[in-house]
């Protein structure tokens, strides 16, 4: 049976720890009276630590005093044990300091901020926003998009469907903070965000997340002010514009949400969108290439956690 004592497991764990040799804050700790086979048979103190870059790690603690939640810890290399084959296994242990972290990291407030994800059709905005709001479910909520278009198969509960007349009424009464009309040959669509939806999320102390496009982003920036928006642009992978567009085409065909005529039209829009990233660079805080979902999420998560402390 594989045990934590296996040299390969210990080596991988050490590599991961060394890549992130940062101080952090103690979120919780325990003392395991009888550690698993392979570890010295004496009580072992282990902590869950939030590092300064926002990542959380589990690691052994060292220090003579009783740990406290919120205490600052610093990493140190340590000879953990010598295994049965005589291999010396090292690990990173976290040394307890006298200092307490200044802010409790569990309560986060985002008064007046909005997180916006912008990008061409098919770049993966919906996927990123779904995973992000799931990963940070206690701090973020997705803002529903009000639309006058009819529901389609493949829609991910992101839309709030209203009639064209109702949409006009909302727009005229000032209930919408941003809206856009996309008259086209293949479909007639209007999209917008309700002011109430966004404010309700702020009231819960959470960060509203909008999946948006250029027109709506400008509207939001106009209404709430550019500085209240943490704005991410998502680009498809590819070295050239042509490579990017072909990537989008693949994605749209694969998800099967649009007809061929709609895909063609969206590709034309996508070309304009890609240009817009350079023309309206001032509307974006960060431009990310959606090559690997995990790293995109990690970057966004890091920025969100940073924002909450500010």
């Amino acid at each position: 049976m594989r045990t934590p004592d296996s040299p390969a497991v210990a080596a991988r764990s050490l590599t991961r720890q060394k890549a992130r040799l940062l101080p952090g804050t103690l979120l919780s700790f325990t003392t395991v009276t009888h550690p698993p086979k392979g570890f010295p048979d004496r009580p072992r103190q282990i902590g869950l630590i939030e590092l300064t870059d926002g990542h959380r790690v589990l690691g052994a603690l060292s220090g003579s005093a009783e740990p406290k939640i919120g205490q600052v810890v610093i990493p140190r290399m340590h000879l953990s044990r010598v295994n049965a084959e005589g291999l010396r296994l090292y690990e990173v242990v976290y040394e307890l300091t006298e200092r307490m972290a200044e802010t409790a990291s569990e309560t986060k407030e985002f008064p007046g901020y909005i997180l916006a994800l912008t990008g061409p059709s098919g770049v993966g905005k919906t996927t990123v926003s779904l995973l992000l709001t799931k990963m940070l479910s206690d701090f973020t909520t997705k803002v529903p998009i009000v639309t006058s278009r009819t529901p389609k198969e493949g829609d991910d509960q992101e839309y709030d469907y209203v009639s064209t007349r109702e949409f006009e009424r909302l727009e005229k009464s000032g209930a919408l903070v941003a809206w856009t009309h996309l008259p086209s040959e293949s479909e007639q669509r209007s999209y917008g965000y309700r002011k109430n939806d966004i404010e309700a999320i702020w009231e819960q102390g959470k960060l509203p997340v909008v999946v948006t496009e250029m027109q709506l982003l400008q509207g939001l920036a106009g209404h709430f002010g550019r500085r209240s928006i943490l704005s991410f642009g998502l680009l498809p992978p590819g070295a050239s514009k042509r490579a990017m567009l072909s990537h989008l085409l693949h994605r749209m065909r694969a998800r099967g949400r649009e007809t061929d005529a709609q895909i063609e039209e969206r590709l034309l829009n996508a070309q304009a969108d890609l240009d817009y990233f350079t023309r309206a660079a001032h509307l974006f805080d960060h431009i990310l290439v959606n090559e690997d979902l995990d790293s995109v999420l990690k970057v966004i998560k890091g920025h969100v956690l940073e924002l909450s402390k500010a």
């Binding site: 934590p4 919780s28 325990t30 003392t31 009276t33 282990i46």
Partner: protein, 373 residues
């Protein structure tokens, strides 16, 4: 539920330490009593699902579908599912999917675990397989250690005291007195619980569910009917490692599966008369009550401080009834059905999770005593 699925047969072994019984014997015993209690014959069973977590590493036995199938004269098709401590309920969930799809009409679900064949060290390492083997295990954490972290954080955030936490296991032990299938049928005072040996500070020995042998089986059918219907079967998952979660004191998989189960059964928390929840460690019972919406955050302990109309873990729960890992999820459904039968009430709920809440499965049973009488 897209089909009307009835629970038509139930059976289980007594949970405990069974040196004289093998994994095979335990499975056979539970299956036999489930078939005996059903209004159909063994030959009506057209699919078997086996739930088990540890047989390869602890019993040297894989291929459990064939093990169970060979117990029946007509050898129906069989498969095995695994989702750590949630294996049992995930097996029932899989059975519901087969019944809903029409692939099967009567499914036998059996969960079994034979843990006492291995040493404590081996079991500790094997159980750690329910957590993240790359992120959680290398620092020397054990499973109680993971919940020790959860318990410490919970006590810090909500000011729960040690003497309050003692009430949880004390209540479960008291409930087990009335359960003939329970592993520990003796009363434990809160003081005894608070004085038991530390396992993973702040958790003590009597905060932890035991190592047990046992099996539980049930028969679900769309062809034969009973007053006990599966009204909802929902499952949800979360990040495997606790280092990848934003909060420690609440499990989003429980919240999510519970909400979807209530929607599916079209009922509210106030309609539920009996709950069997996953108290692998005392603190988990409190978190489960809160995540399922029976209590506000930090208030789960209220259910143990007073007597309430809804019963919680009347069987003794995992703590006192025993926790043969994959048998638990099925045993919970059996107990809820017995409780509904006895009380004549309408809705009962079973909540079962694996790992530190990385897989959760919620079942709601609906009892209609007069519908099929």
């Amino acid at each position: 539920m897209q089909k009307d699925i009835s629970l038509i047969g139930i059976g289980q072994t007594k949970f405990g330490e069974w040196w004289g019984k093998s994994l095979f014997t335990l499975i056979e015993e539970a299956v036999d009593s489930a078939i005996l209690s059903a209004p159909c014959s063994a030959l009506d069973i057209d699919f078997i699902i086996v739930a088990n977590m540890l047989a390869e590493s602890v019993n040297g036995q894989a291929h459990l579908g064939a093990v169970a199938s060979s117990l029946l004269p007509h050898h129906p098709p069989a498969l095995r599912v695994e989702a750590a401590c949630a294996s049992g309920s995930i097996a029932v969930h899989t059975a519901c999917a087969l019944l809903e799809s029409g692939r099967a009409e009567t499914v036998l679900v059996v969960g079994a675990e034979k843990m006492t064949d291995a040493s404590g060290d081996e079991i500790t390492t094997a159980l750690m397989g329910a957590a993240d083997s790359e992120k959680d295990a290398p620092c020397g954490l054990t499973f109680p250690g993971l919940f020790g972290l959860v318990a410490r954080r919970y006590m810090h955030e909500f000011g729960l005291s040690r003497s309050q936490l003692n009430l949880v296991s004390a209540r479960h032990h008291l409930n087990a007195l009335k359960n003939p299938f329970a592993q520990f049928r003796q009363e434990m005072t809160p003081e005894q619980i608070g004085a038991s040996a530390l396992v993973a500070d702040p958790l003590r020995l009597l905060d932890c569910s035991p190592i047990s042998d046992g099996a539980a089986a049930c028969i679900l059918s769309t062809k034969h009917h009973s007053p006990m219907r599966i009204a909802a079967s929902q499952t949800s998952t979360d990040a495997l490692s606790i280092a990848d979660r934003p909060v420690l004191t609440s499990f989003s998989a429980t919240k999510d599966s519970m909400q979807r189960a209530l929607d599916e059964a079209d009922c509210a928390t106030s309609d539920i008369a009996h709950v069997e929840l996953h108290d692998c460690f005392s603190v988990a019972a409190l978190i489960a009550l809160e995540d399922m919406g029976f209590a506000e955050s930090g208030e789960g302990i209220r259910w143990y401080e007073q007597n309430t109309p809804m019963t919680v873990n009347a069987s003794g729960g995992l703590k006192a009834c025993g926790h043969p890992v994959a048998a638990t999820g099925i045993k919970q459904i059996i107990d809820v059905s017995k409780q509904l039968q006895a009380s004549g009430k309408r809705y009962g709920l079973a909540h079962n999770f694996g790992g530190v809440g990385a897989t959760c499965c919620v079942h709601i049973l609906q009892h209609s005593p007069h519908a099929h009488a």
